[in-house]
Symmetry: C2
């Protein structure tokens, strides 16, 4: 399963440099974040609880993982220290070796539970597409080396005709001392 | 030929928002540019002259195009008005419907004539790899819609072991009045 290898390769502590492009207003956003990715036991209560909340029929979950992040943006200050943070549990349900569904406890664009579709391109690039109430988001992740992940995203209007924002992150693995 | 469709789709006037990430120093760069892409007659003198300067054996050129740009960066001021500009002629030599060589009059990372390798991924993403004297560069371009192109690049050390800089551009087509 490509998704299993992808999750294992992603596990670790990352330092992320993220640039957001607001297309209509031609504005740049810059964010530096710490991102932590951990594989989670498939039998853990949080995994079972999320699966129960969204019925997935015959599909079998594999290799769930959690993403935690702490970000400092130059656009908005989420709290008094200017630091925003969050956490998301992701559970893949492969439909083939290169495609599947992805359950997420928190979406990327809207903070709701979502069911996304994922696929891998011929060079291993991972693409995740999510339909929200107000928008559709495509995220793509590819590895430039074992220790550098690239991540781009695009937020479209719900019908997919207008594009609101794009972003790009360089994620560098924090090596252990 | 995918390269022909790609060149035709790229022709036009674009407004580019580009973010550069200097990984070692964790620095962000922001650049707004005007980019113009034009198909060029394959029998034009500039095309013939560039081909003569690099012998390509049996391969046949197809669909050459020129990229002109004018950029304003927040990092460096190339001349008194802070505007940098340039021009590059590109000539594809397909080796199959999805792969080939690309002759360039000016490289991306070093200002020399280069011969790059290109390929298309399964979703149509275009990847261009260039070996320079001091570095290796990978550029990837994909269309999010007819009027929005994304472009990412990575600059590695010549041996490919170290990664120096990444960048990402959102390129929005300027529609005619």
């Amino acid at each position: 399963m490509k998704i299993e290898k992808f999750a294992i390769k992603s596990e670790g502590e990352w330092c992320s440099m993220r640039s957001g492009h607001s297309l209509v207003f031609q504005q740049f956003e810059q964010v530096v974040s710490n991102v932590s990715i951990k594989l989670i036991d498939i039998n853990s209560p949080e995994v079972e609880s999320l699966i129960k909340s969204k019925i997935k029929g015959e599909l079998k979950p594999i290799c769930p993982f959690r993403v935690d992040w702490e970000a400092e943006s130059d656009w908005e200050q989420e709290n008094s220290s200017g630091v925003a943070s969050g956490s998301c549990l992701l559970i893949p349900f492969p439909t083939s070796s290169t495609e599947g569904m992805m359950l997420r406890s928190v979406g990327y664009t809207e903070e709701i539970e979502t069911v996304s579709r994922y696929e891998f391109l011929s060079d291993g690039t991972f693409i995740l597409t999510t339909k929200y109430n107000q928008s559709t988001t495509e995220e793509r992740i590819w590895f430039l080396s074992e220790n550098l992940r690239c991540r781009s995203s695009v937020i479209k209007t719900a019908k997919g005709t207008g594009i609101l924002q794009t972003s790009y992150s360089s994620e560098i693995r924090r090596l252990k001392d």
